[in-house]
Amino acid sequence: MDKNQIIRPENLVHAKPELMNNNHMHYCPGCSHGVVHKLVAEVIKELGLQEKTIGIAPVGCAVFAYNYIDIDWQEAAHGRAPALATAVKRLLPDKMVFTYQGDGDLAAIGTAETIHAANRGEDIAIIFINNGIYGMTGGQMAPTTLKNMKTSTSPEGRNTQTMGNPLKILDLLALLDGVCLATRVSVHSAAAVKKTKRMIRLAFENSLAGKGTSIVEVVSTCNAGWKMTPAAANDWMVENMFPVYPIGDLKNI
């Protein structure tokens, strides 16, 4: 088989999403962000929402999310994305509004904004990347860092007596009446990626339909921050993260 046969359209098994541009990605190879970005771009395109979507980027590894997906974006201060999204959706109720946030942004500095936006039942979708570490600043402890997990600010492992416990914020959010979808997914296998795409689609549809707040927590790897190969990071996540952050729907109404 020569090259021209290989690149025939009918042999295409994977394509770059139409809404993703050619900007050089800053994410580390093996990081979950790239996969989730691709899913977000695919779902927006498939739902025909390019002209109706406003994305809110966080502070953290995804701070440059706006560089990769060709929709309108706002870059929020650290943790404040749900407050921005609240105003955008209230002022433009026919748009699809989503935030894309990491664990430090959503579950530490932005806890108040997250919980109160969800408690008001703002019609927004929240894509929540939980990799248990601060990647952008070089591997410090996150609110979701596991017990005994080593980071640059917990070099002997997270001591839950002095540093607090892993924060299961999705469990808190699922309790709120304003939340219509609280689900935990991952992107470490083909099946998991497909499931995650379905849940992102549902969250975006919920925003459009005005059903309330949807949170899709993607339990993710940070192989660079965890100091592992991507494959080893996936295995470590399954073995150590999933018991604390079990995959599945906490709420789906």
Binding site: E51, I54, D70, E75, A77, R80, A83, T86, L91, L92
Partner: protein, 360 residues
């Protein structure tokens, strides 16, 4: 039709003016002495008439970030608070200055520092005109001295904010916010349609259409060379504002030997002092800066060559006096008189200070 004149508090005038101007969204958190603004909005319920969104946020931090989100959509978005709450908003104000977002912030000042007092103060002058948040930025600052100006400056603040894509503040205090006066409310104005906003604000994030690139509202630029260029662009804009938008009022300055310089509620008190002084044969005038940034530097420099001395009167320990001294540039003595912690000076107190510190 006869003119529609009503009696109301300054805080209430802000709320009514915002609805009439066609403001799209108000986001706030209660704090004395300005809670009448959100209370009035909730009572009038403009979402039933103009479609204006009114939302009580979980904190001042959330409220200012809601304003960021609304402003980034090209909407008329505003918040209000009082000194401790305004301190919390500084992060958001800096981000809006960095992202060049137009919005209105109202500060009905109370005495500080800390939780301080709920009584009036002008001690946030430095915070407002010298920065407040981090980075090199300027906040267009309007200082009303009456309930009428509270109403009028809502529209003026939005006009200037959108003209320069910069946040604007109405810097007032508990006196002006709480006192009742006659006011002629501004004319009703239709809220702008999404299409009108798309035309007026081509930068707004209203959803990417096929005919343009994505709109991205951000204050982030990691490339230092590009970030310096951004800063130079901001500074060039600030110089235009300084050259174009200075506003001030002169009262009985023509024959004055001495000048009082005061803004907001302090300027109202000084008007009475002028009468008291002139009865005693002391020719006193008043320059009232209406824009605190841009500051009326040139006019004060010119008076520095004409009068014998100036007294700034402020509800603080001496803040605007520094800008007056910079403007006068050593030509004549410039003294300060202020009361602190929520105490309001009396006209007699100002006259006594004038005689003691300036008139020799």
């Amino acid at each position: 039709m006869s003119e529609e004149i009503v009696l109301m508090k300054g805080n209430e005038a802000i709320a009514h003016a915002a609805i009439r101007y066609g403001v799209d969204g108000y986001f706030g958190y209660p704090i004395t002495p300005q809670s009448e603004i959100i209370e009035t909005l909730m009572e009038v319920a403009p979402w039933k008439t103009t479609g204006m969104v009114v939302l009580q946020a979980e904190s001042e931090v959330a409220a200012i970030n809601m304003v960021y989100g609304g402003a980034a959509c090209g909407k008329y978005a505003m918040t209000s608070s009082s000194s401790p709450g305004i301190s919390l908003k500084q992060e958001g104000i800096s981000y809006m200055a960095g992202a060049e977002l137009p919005a209105l912030i109202v500060n009905v000042q109370r005495g500080g520092p800390g939780l301080g007092t709920i009584q009036p103060s002008q001690a946030d002058y430095f915070q407002t005109v010298k920065g407040g948040g981090h980075g090199d930025y300027k906040l267009i600052t309007l200082a009303p001295n009456s309930v009428q100006e509270m109403a009028d400056f809502v529209g003026l603040a939005f006009e200037l904010a959108f003209k320069y894509r910069n946040p604007a503040m109405i810097l007032t205090d508990g006196v002006i916010g709480q006192m009742m006066e006659k006011v002629k409310l501004p004319a009703w104005q239709q809220r702008r349609s999404e299409q009108e906003i798309r035309e007026q604000c081509p930068w707004a994030t209203l959803g990417k259409t096929a005919d343009r690139k994505p709109n991205i509202i951000t204050s982030l630029e990691l490339d230092s060379a590009a970030m310096e260029k951004n800063n130079e662009r901001f500074q060039a804009k600030y110089r235009v504002v300084e050259a174009t938008e200075v506003r001030y009022e002169e009262i009985k300055c023509d024959d004055a030997d001495y000048l009082l310089v005061a803004f907001g509620s302090a300027a109202r008190i000084c008007q009475k002092t002028i009468d008291l002084a002139r009865k005693e044969g002391i020719k006193v005038g008043l320059v009232r800066p209406i824009t605190l940034w841009p500051f009326p530097t040139e006019v004060l420099y010119a008076y520095g060559g004409r009068v014998k001395g100036m007294l700034t009167v402020e509800l603080n320990a001496g803040q605007m006096v520094e800008d007056v001294r910079l403007a006068v540039n050593g030509q004549i003595p410039v003294a300060h008189y202020g009361r602190l912690g929520g105490i309001v000076p009396t006209p007699e107190g100002v006259l006594a200070a004038l005689k003691e510190k300036v008139v020799h």
